[in-house]
Each structure stands twice: as structure tokens, then as C-alpha cells.
């Protein structure tokens, strides 16, 4: 199949979240292009994700902004509305994404995300299994941590939410790093194809102890497991189950 030249060029120039291609790295010379994802910053507690296109406009309390006027400007620029109000256009990062993404479920925030990634010892090249995907907040940070050579396999038992997560990862340019699957890990365990291959497993389930034996089978020797629970009773029960194959 022959692909038209300009299509390929447009695809390559699109700025998403991670510089998986060194040419797309953040730099003084990198300007906003059509199709780029930008974070519109009104205030520190008021931000929004916008995919820039020639035809769309942004309307807020400061007035009307034409996306087309943003194209060709550097990231971090201040841009003005028709009424003279202004916002800033920031390059997306997993932290900013966590603050602007649409919540389909309760999400993890930066403090917990950073701690989990530290404790899971995730570095580039790792294979990470995660469940449940939820709204993809942690997943986005995991993808950053394993890029460019690792991979995140994330599972959610809710078919529709798994689909929304997939869409989000397309939008943020992370689909090559994340695979989303609809599967009930509590009930069925992780797929056996990953046995002994995972560097890290993350559980955010109502009854994680049901998934822990399967997680143990997935992990390499010295692999890490993290289970996130809002209630200490859940943590207690998880810890009891952990005793058998973990230190």
C-alpha cells in the first residue's frame, strides 16, 4: 500500500505525550502543530486537554480562542482570546494528564502514582501488568516509566471503560506502549501467556487477595507487586495472602 507523503509527514510531526521518537522531543525548536495534544492552562486548578485542529475553537470565561492561531507557536506560550483574556498552552505530561483526564472511575493522583512507580522499581524495558485500568491515570505514568522498550498490559473487567481507556491512549500517543484488555482478573487470574515474564504487577481491585496467587505466577524472581486499597481491612487480608511467596 502506498501512503501519500503528506499523510506520513503529518503523522510523524504530531506531538503526543512521550518522545518515543527522538525527533519529537520537547525542545526550543518544537512548535505546536495540527493534531498535537496541548494542555490549556487557565489556572493551576483549572486546566483542559485540547487536540489542536485548524477548525476547532476553545470557549471559556476569558473569551473565544481559535486553535488555528496556536499552530506554529512554541509550547509554553501565552495565547490571547478575542476579548484579550489569555491562557497558556503546555506540553502534556502524565502529571498534567492525570489532572485533566475524564474520570470514569476514581483515579490515583500524583502522590500515590509516584510512590507506586518507585516501589515497583519500574524502569525502561520492564513488562508491567496492571488491573484495573479504570480511567488510565496510573497507566499513563507506567507507560512513561517503561518507555521506549517496555510494555504495559492493563486489564479491566468493564468492556466499555476498557474501550475508553484505549481511546485515551490513542489520543496521548501511548498505544504502542499499552495494551488494554477486557478481563476479570479477580475471577480468572492473569493470562498464562505472561507467566514468569512480568517485572512488576499492580493491583487496584476490591478483593486483591483473590488475584495475588495469579500475580505471583506472573512475576519473575525478585519481581515486585503492589496492591492499592482504600481500606486497611483489604490491606490486611492482602498481606496475609502475600506471605506465601513474597518477602
Amino acid at each position: 500500500i502506498i501512503v501519500p507523503c503528506d499523510f506520513v509527514e503529518r503523522f510523524l510531526r504530531t506531538f503526543k505525550m512521550l518522545a518515543v521518537d527522538p525527533a519529537k522531543k520537547l525542545s526550543f525548536n518544537r512548535l505546536i502543530s495540527n493534531g498535537d495534544l496541548v494542555i490549556v492552562y487557565e489556572r493551576h486548578d483549572n486546566m483542559k486537554a485540547v487536540t489542536v485542529s485548524e477548525s476547532t475553537v476553545l470557549q471559556n470565561r476569558f473569551g473565544v480562542f481559535k486553535d488555528s492561531e496556536w499552530i506554529g507557536k512554541p509550547f509554553g506560550s501565552k495565547v490571547f482570546s478575542n476579548k484579550g483574556g489569555f491562557v497558556y498552552l503546555l506540553a502534556p505530561t502524565p502529571e498534567l494528564w492525570t489532572l485533566v483526564l475524564s474520570h470514569r472511575t476514581q483515579i490515583l493522583y500524583i502522590a500515590d502514582i509516584s510512590f507506586v512507580i518507585m516501589y515497583l522499581e519500574v524502569v525502561p524495558g520492564c513488562l508491567v501488568l496492571e488491573t484495573g485500568t479504570g480511567s488510565g491515570s496510573l497507566t499513563t505514568s507506567l507507560a512513561r516509566a517503561v518507555a521506549p522498550t517496555g510494555h504495559v498490559h492493563t486489564f479491566d473487567f468493564h468492556e466499555q471503560r476498557a474501550g475508553s481507556a484505549r481511546d485515551d491512549f490513542e489520543r496521548t500517543g501511548l498505544s504502542s506502549l499499552i495494551s488494554v484488555r477486557a478481563r476479570d482478573i479477580q475471577g480468572e487470574g492473569f493470562p498464562s501467556e505472561f507467566a514468569g515474564l512480568a517485572d512488576a504487577v499492580f493491583l487496584d481491585l476490591p478483593q486483591p487477595w483473590l488475584a495475588i496467587p495469579s500475580a505471583a505466577k506472573m512475576l519473575k524472581q525478585d519481581g515486585t507487586l503492589c496492591s492499592f486499597s482504600p481500606c486497611v481491612e483489604q490491606v490486611q487480608r492482602s498481606c496475609e495472602t502475600l506471605q506465601n511467596s513474597f518477602t
Partner: protein
């Protein structure tokens, strides 16, 4: 409030023939020895001659070479041997406790216990005699329990606690952990926090996240905490991009801790050093050439004296209070930091001019600062322009005021947005059936972090 449990898998069945991938120890690698569940943490370099002192025994670390990280060993007699926990023993223990039900059904308590030192009939000599006859640690523990007049009257939890206490003394366990950012930071925070500017592990993890540290990035770092931050950033770069360890003046700061990470050559090559003045200037300064010459001259002298020092450091190191491998080297380093750069297998090479030029051309992807002694605002004012547009930065300080001043000035000068001053909080819990509670001691002081995003300067 949410809590999480993090654990490491020590499956005893080998998971097939996977490539080493740094998961199995080798001669010369660094390890973190976790003795008796975190009671004592010791860094060691594995070699046939290396030893570890536990109690009054000096045991060889030879059995540890070639075993996977995460392996558990037990001191039986005078040598360390692999320990495989038996799942059944623990399970029945938990069962009994669960069957006892609520604590108020437990009928035993300590009302009759009198602490007059007569409960244990086995003497120190008896134990020595048993040992000479070849009794293992577990046999001694069983003997102590059998000869304790008060053991039966204790509650189930109390018995478990007694047994664990005896185990720690007579059959200590050693967990061989992989040195990574997390374990190294935890160990240093516990033992030598001043060397890392009291940077707690949750604070470090926030720094890495908020500064968007990721692969294929050029990251500017001002690290005055012995290289812990540099190492953590390099770990997240995974052999791509660069971490530029920069410094004021002409002498680089110590990067001792980087050696403990067991970095591959690929990752080491990505750790470069450069004086801030070079990054800010527009032409190459003559001082750079002199510095390179110094490193080469001193290098040869250093390598000859290396090995004997390595061995003695290992044998000296292990007692708690006396200097250990790390602090000995640290002390040397303060005097002649340039030598370390050479010894530390290529990490910390002087950044070549074309790399510096490309950094000036494209800007850095993010900035991290951990400089406890420094006045923050003047430093940030100078280096922030080196960041690309919309690049995030994260600055750590033990104290609030320097960061507050910096934040205020950044706002006035309109150099950054999304400014946020955070104070991380971390509480550790003991989690056991019916015995879950926070640990008795908690760090109340993990420092503060100032974060923000650099914005496009309005001069365009």
C-alpha cells in the same frame, strides 16, 4: 486515605531460563543486605573474600555470588545458606490466631509474669555446648522455648513475638536486595540521612514524577546529595537521553552513590558532568581542558591502589557504628572529587562540547535540584532559562523558606506557572492479623518540593 502494600516476589521455583538481565548477582556487584527484616541494612560488594559480621560471627558472602537478587539466606552456625520458607508453618500460625477469634476470647495475659530473669533455665554455656555439638539455630530456639517457664502462659501473639525474637538472635536471616533508587534511598535515609540531605524515598519519587523524568530526555540535575538523585534519574532514563550533573564553580560534587546502582556501561555513558558556567556561557573556556588533564594524570595512581582498598573496606565495613564502605569513600571524596569520576566506571564523564551545544540548542527537558546547602533562588534564576519551553522542574529542599522565596520570585518574574509547594507525608504500618497499627517511629520530616513549568519567555 489510601494505603498500599508493596512486596517483592521471592518465588523459590525458577521461572524458566530467562536471560540474566541483572537479576542474578555476579562477582563485584553491589548488594544491599537486609538483616532480620530491616533491623539492619548494609551495602556490600560481593567477592570471595567479602565478609559480613552478624552478632559475633564473621560469615563469608561467597554463597551469595551467582544467586538471584531477592534470595533469602539464614545464618546457621557460621555460614550463610539459602533459606526457603515453608508456607505451611505460617499458615497454621495464622489459622490458630483466627480461630481464637476476637482478642477478648483469648484468656491468657501477663498478670502473672514477673521479670526476675528466672524464666529461662537454659544458660549461655548450655547454648554454646549445643552449638558445639552441631545444633542448628532452629534447634536452639526450640530448646529455649521448651525451657521457658512462662512461654505457655503467654498469648498466641506474644508467643509468636518471642519466637521471632529468638530467631533474630540465633538464626538470623539475610535478604539480599537489589540496589535500586528505592532501596538505596531507604537505606541511606535510615543510616546516613545527612549524606542525602534527608531526602526521604517518597520525596524522591515525587521529584522524579513531577519533573517528568522519562527516557529519551536531557535532564539537568544539580545534585549535592552524593549522587543519589543523579543515579535515580539515570535509572529512569534506562540508557537513553542524558543526565547532566552540573555544579557551581569548577569542582564537581561527589557522586559516590551512583556506583552502588550497578549500572551497565550504557547507562553510565549517559551520566555526564558539566559546570553550570559552561552551560551558561557562549564559548568554550580554557579551564575545561585543564580539568580533563587532571583526571587523566590522577587516574593511573588511583587504579593501582584500588583493589587492596576494596577488600579492606569490605571486611571493615559491617559494624553498625563504625565507618562503612560508603562513608569511608565519602570522606576521601570530599577532598579530591575529580578522582571519583574516573574510578566509577565511566559514569560522570565530562560532557563533550557538541553535547553541550545540543543542550543549548534544544534546551533541557526538565530540571531537578537537590542542594541542601545552597541558596535556591539565585541558582534557579540562572539555570531555568536552560530549560525548554513548557519543561517541568522540581526542586527539593530540607527547609521551606528558600523554596518559598524562590516561588515568590518566580511568580514576580513570570518565569513559571503551575507553581506548587508540597510537603510529602509518609507513614509506615505494621500489618498483621489483629495487630495492624502504625510503626512506633515515623519520619516527620521529608523536606519540601517546589514544582512548576517553565513558560515561554515573552521576549519573542
Amino acid at each position: 486515605m489510601s494505603c498500599s502494600a508493596a512486596a517483592e516476589c521471592c518465588c523459590s521455583e525458577p521461572n524458566g531460563n530467562k536471560s540474566n538481565n541483572g537479576r542474578v548477582t555476579w562477582e563485584g556487584c553491589s548488594v544491599l543486605l537486609d538483616i532480620n527484616d530491616g533491623d539492619r541494612l548494609v551495602f556490600a560488594r560481593l567477592s570471595p573474600a567479602a565478609k559480613l559480621k552478624i552478632g559475633n560471627k564473621n560469615c563469608s558472602l561467597q554463597p551469595l555470588i551467582g544467586t538471584p537478587f531477592g534470595s533469602l539466606f539464614q545464618l546457621d552456625g557460621t555460614s550463610l545458606s539459602p533459606f526457603i520458607p515453608s508456607p505451611q508453618a505460617d499458615a497454621t500460625n495464622n489459622e490458630e490466631i483466627k480461630d481464637d477469634g476476637q482478642p477478648n476470647v483469648e484468656s491468657r495475659d501477663n498478670r502473672e509474669l514477673v521479670d526476675n530473669n528466672t524464666a529461662q533455665t537454659l544458660t549461655g554455656e548450655d547454648i554454646e555446648a549445643m552449638r558445639r555439638q552441631g545444633a542448628g539455630g532452629n534447634e536452639i530456639i526450640e530448646a529455649l522455648i521448651a525451657n521457658s517457664a512462662t512461654y505457655e502462659k503467654k498469648t498466641a501473639f506474644s508467643q509468636e513475638k518471642y519466637r521471632r525474637k529468638k530467631q533474630k538472635k540465633y538464626a538470623p536471616k539475610v535478604l539480599m536486595r537489589r540496589p535500586v533508587a528505592r532501596s538505596i534511598c531507604e537505606a541511606y535515609f535510615k543510616k546516613y540521612p545527612s549524606k542525602i540531605g534527608f531526602l526521604r524515598v517518597d520525596t524522591l519519587s515525587l521529584l522524579l514524577s513531577m519533573a517528568n523524568v522519562s527516557a529519551i530526555s536531557d535532564i539537568l540535575v544539580v545534585d549535592m546529595i552524593s549522587g543519589l538523585l543523579t543515579g535515580a534519574v539515570a535509572e529512569r532514563l534506562g540508557g537513553t537521553g542524558f543526565v547532566c550533573n552540573s555544579y557551581l564553580g569548577q569542582s564537581p560534587y561527589s557522586m559516590d552513590i551512583v556506583r552502588i546502582f550497578n549500572f551497565s556501561d550504557e547507562i553510565c555513558k549517559r551520566i555526564l558532568r558539566c559546570p553550570i558556567s559552561d552551560l551558561l556561557s557562549s564559548k568554550e573556556s580554557p579551564e575545561q581542558i585543564l580539568q580533563v588533564a587532571d583526571v587523566n594524570d590522577v587516574c593511573n595512581v588511583e587504579t593501582q591502589s584500588n583493589d587492596p582498598m576494596g577488600v579492606t573496606a569490605n571486611t571493615d565495613e559491617i559494624s553498625h557504628s563504625s565507618g562503612n564502605d560508603i562513608s569511608d569513600l565519602g570522606a576521601e571524596n570530599e577532598n579530591i572529587p575529580v578522582i571519583r569520576a574516573c574510578k566509577a566506571t565511566k559514569a560522570g564523564e565530562k560532557a563533550p562540547q557538541e553535547t553541550i551545544d545540543s543542550w543549548k540548542e534544544n534546551g533541557f527537558s526538565s530540571l531537578l535540584i537537590a542542594a541542601p546547602e545552597m541558596d535556591i533562588w539565585p541558582l534557579v534564576r540562572d539555570v531555568l532559562p536552560l530549560l525548554s519551553n513548557s519543561a517541568p522542574f522540581a526542586i527539593y529542599h530540607q527547609y521551606l523558606q528558600p523554596l518559598a522565596t524562590c516561588m515568590h520570585n518566580l511568580q514576580l518574574a513570570k518565569m513559571a506557572i503551575g507553581l506548587q509547594l508540597s510537603e510529602p507525608w509518609l507513614r509506615e504500618y505494621q500489618v498483621l492479623t489483629s495487630r495492624t497499627h502504625p510503626s512506633m517511629q515515623m519520619s516527620a520530616f521529608g523536606g519540601y518540593i517546589l514544582t512548576g513549568t517553565r513558560i515561554c519567555s515573552s521576549s519573542n
